[in-house]
Structures are given as C-alpha cells and as structure tokens.
Amino acid sequence: MLILAAARAATRRHGGAHLVGRANKKRGIQTATVTDGAIQQLASKPLHALTLADLCSHGRPPLSTEQLLKSANFTLSILPSRLAHRIQSLRALPYIVVANPNVSQIHNNYVHSLSTLLPYAERHIETLQDEIKFTEVMADLVETHSNTIAVLARGFLEARKYISAEQITRFLDEHLRARIGTRLIAEQHIALHFSSKAHAELSDHHETTEQSSYIGVIDTALKPAEIIRRCEATVGEICELKYGVRPTVVLSGDPETTIAHIPMHLEYILTELLKNSFRATIEAGMEKEPIDITIAPAPENEDWRAEQKRAMEKGSSAINSVADHDTSTADAASNTKLPPGASANIQPLDCSSPGVTIRIRDRGGGISPENHTKLWEYGFTTFNEDEINDKTSGTDAGPSALDMLSAGAAGGSSLAGLGYGLPLGRAYAGYFGGGIAVQSLFGWGTDVYLSLRGVGKIN
C-alpha cells in the first residue's frame, strides 16, 4: 500500500516537490500497448465539456462505496481521450523539438499513462478492489506528470532555435490549461477515495472533522488571507536568505473573506506573484515599503443573482464569457482571449459563488515598456542568462531555494527564472473564470489584479 501513502501525501502537500521513487509506480499497475490506432480513435472523440458539478456530483464526502465507484467510472470515461488529445498535440510539434530528450520524456509519460488506462477499456469498475487499483493508477498518473512543466520548459529552452516564441506560447497555453483539468480530475478522485467511508474502514484511520469543508481537492471555505500569509512567509524567507532583507505585506479590504476554490492552485498563483513583487521591491531598494494587498469580495447582490439566473438559463458555458470581464480592461499584452483548447476547461458550477478580487501593489519600479510586451510569453524572464544556462546544462548545483518555491501544484523543481510564473498563474486563475491583469507604472511600481471565481456552492 506504499503507493497509496505516497499518493495521499501528494494530495495533502502544500509546497515542496513530492518525490517518490519511480520504481514504486510500476508495482502492481497493469499496462497495455498503446497503438497509434488507439490514440487516433480516442482523440477523434470530441472532448467532453466537463463541469465541476460533474466532479462533485457523486456526493458529499465521505462517499459510500457505490458513490465511489460512480466517481471512478466517470473519471475513467473522460481521461483516456484527454490524454490522447495531449499526445496528438505533442506529436504535432516539429520533429526536432519532440526529439529533444526532455520533450521526448514528457511525450513518453503521456503514452505511459494512457497505457495504464487502456486495460480498463470497455470495462466498468465494479468492485472495491478494482477501485483501489484504479486509484493507484490515478496516483501514478499524478506522480508521473508532477514535473511536466519544468521538464517541458527545459526542453523548449534547449530547442529554442527551432521553434518560435508564438508557437511555444500557443502550444503551452492549450497544453497547460488541459493539464490543469486532467490533473484535477485525477486528484479529485484520489481525494474522494481517501475521504470515503470504505477507505476509513480499511485503514482504521478516522478523518478528523477539519476536512469537512473539503470536497475532494476543493476547499469550500478557503481563506485567501491565510494563503497570502503563508506565501508571504515562504517567499520572505527565501528573500532573507538571498538578499538579506524581506519586504512586508499589508492586508486591506476584507481579509476574513472565504471562497470555494482549490488551495493548491491559489497557492501557486500567489507564490509566483509575490516572488515577482518581492524581488522587484528589493532590487529597487524599496524593501521598507510594504506590499499592499487588498482583498475585495464581490458582493452577492441583486445584479449577481440576476446574472446567475441568466447564466443558468443559457447554460453553464455562459459563465465563462462573463468571466473575461472580471478584469475589465486586461492589459493588451495579456491577450485574454481563451485559446482554442479552452473547450478542455472544466466549466465552473452553475451557481458559482461571486468570487474575490485580490490586488497586489508594489513599489518595485514597474515594468519597462520593452519587457511589458513579453510579459505573457513562456520562457521570458528577467533573470540573467547565466542562470538560464545553469538550468539547461545538466549540472544543476542542486535546486536553489527560489527553485523550491515553484514546486507544489506546478510540480517539480527548477521553475524559477524560467519565465513560466505569470502565464501559468494566469492559466490557473482563468481556469474557473478568473484572470490576472498586470498594470505597470514604470518608474513607480506594479499593480496586479487577481480575480477568482468561486468554484461554486454545492447543495
């Protein structure tokens, strides 16, 4: 049952890469050969438009065995085609890029994961034993792909001569958004499994009631202020180590606000944004100036209720279209139009809770106009070239402290300084209809607007 312990730790982690010996993953997991035909067939199916309600529809934890099996079968029905789409997408990249060892490794990971799901083709999961095995497969999936982004980043960096920035951006925008969803589906099932009645009985471990606000990986009573303080502590410590000083954070607005969201996602986003702000502030010599964070919950008023009603009448896809306006005039460079793969996104619940806007203001001198145009490119960074070379050569002098920060939801190490923080943060924020907008006051500082939709109320 080692794999289960590992997977359980994986779902509880809040930061720090989770590294499990790869040998474990092969233990007890059946695979079947993935043929090109199978990929073709699976990818030809249109992606099912998922809603978060689908993921939560199996019941409120702790799930009964019957509900657990429903969750497993539902997961099984949608994952293979999602993986197949990813494989197709990768194979559409230029040969010389996919031949890069790092990119190739990722491609193989996806093929491997699909191979672990093929044995279930045409089958239903009907017993608890099957379900436990299936959860192991899910855990393997999560673990295998935990450092996809770092590895892909390295790969694209090495192959940058053969592929344009636009091509990379286009591919990654779609791929990373889809990845968020795929991961979520798997992690949700794992979490539901661990909080199920069956599991409690089997492991003689009684879950404490502190988990009661959770439905799988969703915390319905998530307090952004708490996550901010946590990220502030972590990032601050690193700054102290690296620069000898650390800026402070002042909270205003309504710090007691809670929303329903996914802690891992929020933590990733806030870590990235605070990293940027802290670093800029220190390098501008303004570390005595606090970073001003305002938490503004959207009111649940008449207009919002009317909008929900309209959205429900039109169908849940309407909610995403309004969401783009959360950041009313997002800066032009951010190009908030959803990419074509957006249909792979999971739609928020019909009755999404109103959400919150978090504004982060720093005095770090702002972003120069030249840098501003490249803000949302993957791989654009103002870290220096030497650091990049360190990362692309095999000789990592061990992951630096800043690198460790980017572990967690994004998985893996060595993400710092690779220029993925902002676009990836935006992918997470936008996943349920929120967004990130960046307003630079060059010569003074930067204002960042993070808007989050609650992922919903579950009745």
Binding site: T294, A298, T329, P369, L441, G443, Y449
Partner: protein, 455 residues
C-alpha cells in the same frame, strides 16, 4: 419645401437645413412638418470622391509646437493652407463612412442631422481659395469659427443616433463608427483651434511692437492651444475642485471625498489643457459619484491620485473605494452603443444640446472660462469658444448620466498616443490608469480608410 427622393441637386446645402446656422432646429422644424423621416438626399459624389482619394497628413503634438513656436507671416499662411486642405479631406472621409452605413441608419434624424452638418461644412471648406494674404487668412478664420460653433451639438446627436439605430447596425459597428468619427472630430477641431489660436497670437504680437521680435506667445509656455508645461498636480487639483463643487450642488450637504495626490508631484508635460481636463474630470467625477452614492460613512476614504513619471510617459492612477463597477454594465464600459441603461442615456443625451447652447450664451456673457484658470495672463480667447463643447460636457450636472464619459475619455487619451484603462475591484473600488506620452512626438491616432474599409 423639402426635397425627397434621389433627384440630383445642383446646390447642396439648401435641402433640409435652411441656412447652416441653426443647430438641429431646422431639421426638427422640417421633420415636424412631415412626420416621416427621410434619409438625406443624394448629391453627386464625384467631388466627394476626389477628396476621399486624398491621403490624410497626420500631425504630432511636437510638430504643432515647433511649427507655432516661431510665427512669421509666411508660417501663418502656410498653416492656413495646411488646414484649408486637411479639413475638407478629413471630413470627406467621414462623410464616406456615413454614406456606407445602412440606409436605415441615415434615416435616423440624429445621424441625418450630423450628416447634413458635415456636408455643409465640407462644401464650405472645399471652396475656400488659396490663402495668400493676412486678409485671406482672416476670412478663413471666420469660416473656421462658424463651423466650430455649429458643430457643438454633434457629440450628443451622435450619441443619441447611435443608441437609436441598434436595430439596423450591430453594436460593434456602432462603436467603431463612433470612435472613428470622434477621433476625426478631435483632429479637425485641434487643427482649426490651433490655427485660430496662432492667428490671434500673431496679431497680438503685431499690435504690441515692443514685444519680442520673434513674435512668440507672451507666455512662452503656450503655443497656440498647446500648453507646454501642463502641471499634473495643478490639473488634478483644478479638476478636483470643479468636481467637488458640482457634487455639492447636485447632492447637497453630503460628505464628498477629498482628493489626495502623491507621487512625482513636479511632473509636467505638453498637452492641450481642455483635453486633459476633460479626461481627468471624468475620472474624478466617476470616482466621487461612486463614493457618494455608496453612502457608506460620514468620512469617506479619499480618492487617491498617483502621478508617476518615466522617461517617455506620465501615468496618472486614480483609485477610489466607491464600490467598484456594477457587473451588469462592466461588459459595456467602453461602448457607446449598448447596455442596460440605454433608455436613461437617451433621455439624458436629449438634454445636452440645450446645455451646449446655454454654455455658449454664458461664454459670450462672461469671457473668462473656468478652464483658463491656470494661465497667468489670459490665454487666447478663441480657445474658449471652441473648447466650450468639452466644457459644457464637463460641467453637466452629475445626475445627467450620459454613459459616454469613459469611451470619450479613452478616445481623447488615445488621440495623442496615450491610453486609458480601468480595473474594477467589485464591491470595493476602481483604479483608472491614464497614460500620457510625454514627448509629444507620436502622430495623432486616426482611423484610416483602410481600417474602415476592412470593416
């Protein structure tokens, strides 16, 4: 007598309007005689075609400044001829835009009114002979003044027209149309007003032979309409004072938030004062209204304005805690054409032409306008007459919600290659970011024929 149908008319301008001097009244009178609205009659298009073929020659703030800095008679005449050719060219392009709107749009009385105004102006402008002497220039200036006055009602008319033609023209197209027209209008007025101001400067120097031989403006910092040293802080303070006064008149004894300014307080930049005052005025009004209407407390949080100066630009951030922008109108923030408050906007717009008229009368009676308070001497007084369309809008009572302040401000900001963006924290407040190019060396932003044809 009204001419209907498509009979080609030899002398345009005598159709729906009896004489060009009555703004809109002639149309109203004409239409009251026969309730059926008819689109403007057709004129032979070959002349218009010629002018539409001509390319527009855009200018930059810096060019205007350098040109006007050393005024000689030759230069003045040159300027007159530039205007003489530019104005009809630009109006011709706009007329062609209007002609390519759906027929039903031109049947709308407001659109038709503006079309007729423009056509009359075009006819008048294109017939001006080459300017060779100062007397010629004076005659030309009279033509300019007349046009500027007649066109005061264009903005509210267009605003109403665009709201009314929703059924025949999509809102995206309406917005594009409105933006194109407004940009061009700003550009024509800038050219006209600048030339008038420079003429005035030239003559006043002429009348005071003891003044500097180079005939520069007595206040070095003014070149025609352009004030080279607009002080960000002073402008904000002036606009704040005006807005505060308006609010207390409108809302009575209610706590009005004060405006706190911080950042790079010494910042100056070259700009046309009425433009920047309009934009900042709108932003401050929105903020104040947001805070006041929340009625949260007796000591409302101040509106924080930050001035940030960099090498090439100035950014002014206006932050309020007025509760943010209603979700329902957020998607339509920058649109002239749609939104849930359409009917209210229409009703309010109908009140504005009267406002423009009133302000005009006030202006004649009292020649010192509120927007000249920053200049030590009296600035060129012709600026007041022509600035009055903006001033009228700026001093409208707060409850006259037109729904145009933001999109209009954006057009003004973008005209000199700046930008305006707004971020709303729903339930909390709004941050508006106005970016101004400091160097003044970017060309005016106009919608070219190409972008229009691509529509």
């Amino acid at each position: 007598m009204r001419v209907t149908g498509w009979a080609p008319v030899a002398s345009p301008g005598l159709l729906m309007l009896r004489g060009p001097h009555r703004k809109g009244n002639a149309v109203a009178a004409a239409t009251s005689r026969s309730p059926q609205y008819v689109a403007p009659p057709w004129r032979p298009s070959s002349i218009l075609d010629e002018w539409v073929q001509r390319e527009v020659r855009p200018i930059s703030l810096r060019q205007l400044t350098f040109f006007g800095r050393t005024l000689t008679q030759d230069r003045l005449i040159q300027g007159a001829n530039y205007a003489r050719l530019e104005l009809p060219t630009r109006i011709a392009h706009r007329l062609r835009n209007m002609q390519t709107l759906p027929y039903s749009a031109l049947k709308n009385r407001h659109i038709a009114h503006v079309y007729e105004l423009y056509y009359t102006a075009f006819e008048r402008f294109r017939k001006v002979p080459e300017v060779r002497t100062l007397e010629d220039n004076d005659k030309y200036c009279e033509v300019l003044v007349q046009c500027l006055q007649e066109h005061l009602s264009v903005i509210p008319s267009l605003g109403m027209g665009v709201l009314e033609i929703q059924d025949s023209v999509s809102s995206e197209e309406c917005d594009r149309f409105m933006t194109t027209l407004l940009r061009s209008r700003i550009s024509r007025r800038v050219i006209a007003e600048q030339h008038l101001a420079l003429t005035e400067t030239f003559h006043s120097a002429w009348h005071f032979p003891n003044a500097k031989k180079s005939a520069m403006a007595p206040e070095d910092d003014f070149v025609g309409e352009i004030f080279l040293k607009c002080s960000a802080k002073e402008i904000i303070e002036t606009c704040a004072a005006t807005a505060t006064e308006l609010m207390s008149k409108a809302y009575g004894p209610v706590a009005i938030p004060r405006v706190a300014i911080k950042g790079h307080l010494d910042t100056t930049f070259p700009y046309i004062p009425s433009h920047i005052e309009y934009i900042i005025g709108e932003l401050l009004r929105n903020s104040m209204q947001g805070v006041i209407e929340q009625r949260q407390s007796s000591s409302p949080k101040p509106i924080e304005v930050l001035i940030c100066e960099a090498a090439q630009s100035v950014i002014i951030r206006v932050s309020d805690q007025g509760g943010g922008i209603d979700r329902a109108i957020l998607p339509y923030l920058w649109s002239f054409a749609k939104g849930p408050r359409r009917n209210m906007r229409l009703q309010n717009l109908e009140q504005v032409p009267k406002l423009a008229g009133t302000m005009q009368e006030l202006r004649w009676a009292d020649s010192t306008g509120p927007d000249r308070s920053h200049s030590p001497g009296s600035g060129p007084s012709s600026g007041e007459k022509s600035g009055s369309s903006l001033t009228a809008l700026s001093s409208r009572p707060p409850d006259l919600r037109l729904g145009m302040g933001l999109p209009m401000s954006k057009i003004y900001a973008e005209y000199w290659a700046g930008s305006l963006e707004v971020h709303s924290l729903e339930g909390y407040g709004v941050d508006a970011f106005l970016q101004i190019s400091k160097l003044g060396n970017r060309n005016e932003v106009l919608s070219t024929r190409a972008t229009m044809d691509a529509v």
